[in-house]
Amino acid sequence: MTDAAQPNRLPAGGAIQGLIDRDRLLAFTFDGKVYAGHAGDTLASALIAAGVKLIGRSFKYHRPRGIFSAGPEEPNALVELRTGARREPNTRATTIELYDGLEAASQNRWPSLAFDILAVNQIASPLFVGGFYYKTFMWPASFWEKVYEPLIRRAAGLGRASEYPDPDRYEKAYAFCDVLVIGSGPAGLAAALAAGRSGARVILCEDDARLGGRLLGERQTIDDAPAHLFAAAASDELGSLPDVCVMSRTQVFGAYDDGVYGALERVADHMTAPAAGVPRQRLWRIAAKRCVNAMGATERPIVFGGNDRPGVMLASAVRTYLNRFGVLPGRKPVVFTTNDDGWKTVADLAAAGAQVEAVVDPRASVDETLTKAAAAAGARVLLGGRIVDVAGDARGVTSAVVSAGGKRQVFAADLVAVSGGWNPQVALTTHRGGKPRWSEALSTFVPGDLPDGMAVTGAANGDFGLAESLRGGSAAGAAAAAACGFSATPAPQPRAEDEPAAVVPLWHVDGGRYKAFVDLQNDVTAGDIALAHAEGFRSIEHLKRYTTLGMATDQGKTSNLNGHAMMAALTGQAMSDVGTTLSRPPHQPVAIGAFAGHHRGRHFRPTRHVPGHAWAIENGAVMVEAGPWLRPQYFPRPGEKDWLASVVREVRTVRSSVGVCDVSTLGRIDIRGRDAATFLDRVYINTFSTLPVGKARYGVMLREDGFVMDDGTTSRFGDDHYVMSTTTANAAKVMQHLEFCHQALWPELDVAMVSVTEQWSQYAVAGPKARELLAQLYGSDVDLSNDALPYMGCREISLRGITTRLFRISFSGELAYELAAPARHGAAVLEDLMALCDTFGGCPYGTEAQSVMRIEKGHVAGNELNGQTVARDLGLGRMMSTKKDYIGRVMADRPALVAPDRPTLVGIRPVEKGRRLTAGAHILPGGAAAVAASDQGYVTSVAYSPALEGWIGLALVVNGPTRHGERVRAYDAVRNNDQDVTICAPVFVDPEGVRLRG
């Protein structure tokens, strides 16, 4: 019956045959060799079936390692799953669902798993004790980066990340429910049934593909039938309840504030690649009114010599491989258990046909039903015994040395099943700060303070019996539903038994020849714990950090408690005083891609488009990011050799004819109310209550600490109606600030505001021919003369039935307007404008040309409004009203902010004609040495000025306004552009403002 390809697969029709689908054969490879398994297998069970024992190499000593567990706690059997762009390092073979064509490879070995050069580390292991690196590698200092560290880095690490972008998609979703049940073992199923039957909205999350938890791995009965049938029936019933959502392959990894749980759904990890349109994984944020935590428990190993060899396995894992997967992990097993539960392994192994050599229990006496059953199975019973050493090699365990009754006996063995008892999965109860409580009876930590809304039931609560799990789960589910206003209908409890579960603590068996491992993955040995103790690293946090105990990918799920208890034994402390290290999300590692979701590549952040976006693209604009927006940077034309040529042409066109620039990204806030004027007076440094209707004014607002927050023009359209513009960058911040000022400071003011940035598109029309162009656009019956719409005037004007707003404002220094049209008409208006613009020989211009012209005019922008400047620094001090209070007024008068030697805005020009200026250069006195003491300011903005045919810049310089004409040093060491510049006034073109009033 035995299949040659699967020598350890139990035959169909035997006493134990597992829950796999024997009709579906799946081919897979491990390290390039082809194997076969069945649907329902994990990679680990399929490898066991195939007789593969050596799966990986340990982190530090590169010791040969096999499969240790049957679940997510696996420390040893980590593989690289898949290849190429989908390669997933450090994937636990014990949780990988087998699929046809699966490819896995061992990791952290070279050149091969069987022959790993770095296994020589084992020879040098007397040197490589815990924390050895802190004591050496210090000489000579330069050798660390050059010699020691590269060697360490290459040897360390585990698997290799893919070098290609992850090709799969990830999704994020929210879910809401009354009761979240975590885990679908007996307690979780009972809880979900009780809550679901009451009509509550229930979400049941199960990490495994299949519901049932331990019911799938044990030979237990419920209602006189195999327990896995109960799980299947429960699964069916839950599926039929309309308000119950069963999420399998979904691990809840974190408990967050206010009942939010993080969960990861593995949508397509059980297949070669996700189907088209399907994400690989989905990150859920589940907001639950109540949570029933039924996450179960993890079996704890015992530390003894050679306990890391392939073939040493958790006893419950042995049973899972037998009962769920129908594979036999060893034919000559020895069982080493400190508790009644471990004895079940003997009977299961015997039923599967193994010859159990011995069962070893440190207790002097146990319940005689256990010993009788073991004897019936043909096993030697060694009470008061311990396994001291396990011998073996890369091919696995060969024998176990047992100390019992004062003598040592050697048993030939190929499998050592170990149970030191069970640790409830307390992690989720601690994520919000709860501390677990030590239970002397169970020799482990059980949940202590629970997060609001969470109940813990079943093995997770230390209730290990089957009947009590079913009972407790049912009660917890009903109570959770009741707390949400649903009354549970009483239902008969399923019949089940509580098996004996007595346990004694045994953490470590001393006296073996071989290294005894506490943390298998990080190679932390019993000796390391003793060393940490000797060197004073006795607090469990120090122990962890010094030895790396519990810091591997399994986060100490099978090692922490043993390590902490061993330290407690050395210090003589009680475990209740020792406590346990803090547990933080995620409970199990979660792919970074899942947390990112679709926010990657071009979709890292939303992209905002203005109504004229398509027009800009069609007309060849080079686009640039402006915060969340994309804006045209410049519009290259054929024959222009670089961006500068295009920008110079755009500026010249504007200054000689006309240009159009899309300024729709500026923030716009509509402000209305009887007290709108008063409100603006309080938020701006200058006065807006005196602004006549139909006029616009430039305004500056400060933060309360006196520094400049933002600037822009605000226009008055009625006695109680203003429209404020803000910079693109600060639009949201200003809106929030204004709402704060109104709601939190002056709620008595009758004013209301709303952001209308997205409701309007806006175009600057600038240049000597701007008025003519607009006159043609609006038609002859609209008067745009200087009298009708003077500089800083604004009006609503109908354009073919559309209400537009026309502002006579100028950033460029030219005769200029800004035309605002409702966003839905924005594209059409732009096309009309551009068609007319062409007829005037004009052109569209982008942010670069806009920037050149504002620098030529000495207008400040983002580079100067950097949150570090006050109004006086920018030459705007005279705008600060002395007749009223406003946000920031008091603090702006702090001594350091009115000091005369503050860096203040000036213009600069290169001494060497034609030399390029660079922003970010520091200003030093002429001829001064490049030292910190010479630092007198820096260049904020630069541009090539077509008007001046040379580079110009704005700078903030100590005592700036008194130094016009002075030659200073512009120090730009990082761009090799150290040069002399001359300080000048910051307005380079038309300082009298004749053109803009034209």
Binding site: T136, R154, Y164, P165, E535, P585, A591, N863, D935, V974
Partner: protein, 434 residues
């Protein structure tokens, strides 16, 4: 134990010969089964009185105690810690060291710190794995480039190293970054080659060992419950392990600054916030140095053990809970994927949360207080780790001499009233934006 006259207190002779660490001592101990290693620092119990009591055995407190003894010969010092030594932010950070600061008040200080890092391991005879593999700050716009040029030039003026790289130079250095389909394409970076990382816990232990060997009493599990203040001067402390007299008291308690300050009647410009940080499962080498993303708040390096160590913004609300929430985790990973899309299948293994003493301008305070003999070291926001050596050096200088160290002269408590703030980000008095 008052043995001398004039109020000077001599500690009892209780120094023991510290074992010097080297490959030779390691080999010698290997031959004897590592049975002869001794405690790396003494487990001291509090005595009645000290010349100086420093509160907080985090990185800064440990460094302060070390330099008090080493630089100023003041070894009758107690260092009090309410929990376990090094359990604060020195044990929960992303281990980055650098001196790429912008403003004059900061740059000299952080450059001093980087220079101290460069000789630290030989100085305290402990391998803290100071690794100068470089810190690269990416820029994604012309404005950001110019701001980094300004910063780089400021660094050069202070004698620090800084290079402004263009896109091609960044690509040559870090070809694994996303240059192909980025929302905010990488245009270049500011590189400080001398920047890098250090093994954070080892820094705490190295300072502890060095301080303890010089006679400092490091007293763990000793929480300060009140300060004894007479005539406007601090004269001692009440602790959970008894009263202690002190001629001078220095506070280096990070997130607990407001609570300790309140014991002295001080209201301080500090908010306590939670910062999360993250580490991935161990991987073979992938990221050579430290890289920061310029289009989101994200920084990443890879530890010698192979884990990617990364972080981003603080959660943004006052907190003493040492834990955060999911939105920041997602935000950080979004930046990570935007920058390095090949880490999609790498798993986030562990997160942690530290308590940050966020100041009102994002810069620290090392100063006297209005209370006599009470000194304050706080406001490190989430940049305190790299400052550890210079912070200890300058705080020890202040406590020992009564004068600010020249490199920390700008870190005055009164700068908020005077307006001489040191606001690198220009975010104003909004701690969660620094």
């Amino acid at each position: 134990m008052f043995l001398g006259s004039g109020g000077s207190i001599f500690p009892p002779l209780r120094f023991y010969a510290a074992m010097r660490y080297s490959i030779f001592s390691l080999a010698r101990n290997a031959l004897t089964g590592h049975r002869h290693w001794t405690e790396q620092w003494r487990k001291a119990s509090p005595r009645d009185a000290y010349d100086v009591v420093v509160v907080g055995a985090g990185g800064h407190g440990l460094a302060t105690a070390y330099y008090l003894a080493k630089n100023h010969g003041i070894s009758n010092v107690a260092l009090l810690e309410k929990g376990w030594l090094g359990g604060g932010n020195v044990g929960r950070n992303t281990t980055i060291i650098r001196s790429n600061y912008l403003l004059p008040g900061n740059e000299a200080f952080y450059e001093q710190s980087l220079r101290l890092w460069e000789g630290l391991e030989q100085d305290f005879n402990y391998n803290a794995m100071v690794s100068q593999r470089g810190v690269l700050n990416l820029y994604h716009s012309d404005g950001q480039r110019d701001a980094y040029a300004r910063r780089g030039n400021a660094m050069r003026l202070h004698g620090a190293d800084a290079e402004l790289l263009d896109r091609n130079a960044v690509k040559a250095m870090a070809p694994f970054l996303n240059f192909d389909d980025a929302r905010f394409p990488i245009q270049g970076g500011l590189l400080q080659r001398r920047g890098g990382t250090a093994r954070h816990d080892a820094v705490a232990w190295g300072f502890a060992r060095g301080a303890s060997d010089r006679g400092v009493d490091i007293i763990e599990n000793c929480e300060v419950v009140d300060l004894a203040i007479e005539d406007g001067r601090v004269v001692g402390l009440k602790t959970t392990r008894g009263d202690i007299k002190a001629k001078k008291v220095g506070l280096a308690v990070a997130g607990a600054t407001s609570q300790l300050g309140a014991m002295a009647g001080l209201r301080l410009p500090i908010e306590s916030h939670v910062l999360q940080a993250f580490v991935s499962e161990g991987l073979k080498p992938l990221v050579p140095g430290v890289i920061t993303f310029g289009a989101g708040h994200f920084y990443i390096s890879q530890s010698d053990k192979g884990g990617l160590v990364f972080g981003g913004d603080i959660d943004g609300y006052n907190s003493y809970a040492r834990r955060g929430n999911l939105p920041v985790v997602e935000d950080v990973c979004e930046s990570g994927m935007a920058l390095m899309p090949q880490v999609g299948r790498v798993r986030l293994l562990r997160s942690w949360g530290g308590l940050m003493d966020m100041s009102m301008d994002g810069s620290p305070i090392i100063d006297r207080t209005p209370v006599g003999n009470l000194y304050l070291n706080c406001g490190w926001c989430y940049g305190g780790f790299k400052a550890t050596p210079a912070s200890g050096w300058c705080f020890a200088h202040l406590i020992a001499t009564g004068q600010s160290h020249p490199n920390a002269a700008a870190y005055r408590l009164d700068r908020f009233a005077s307006g001489a703030v040191i606001d690198e980000k220009g975010a104003g008095a909004q701690p969660n934006l620094h």
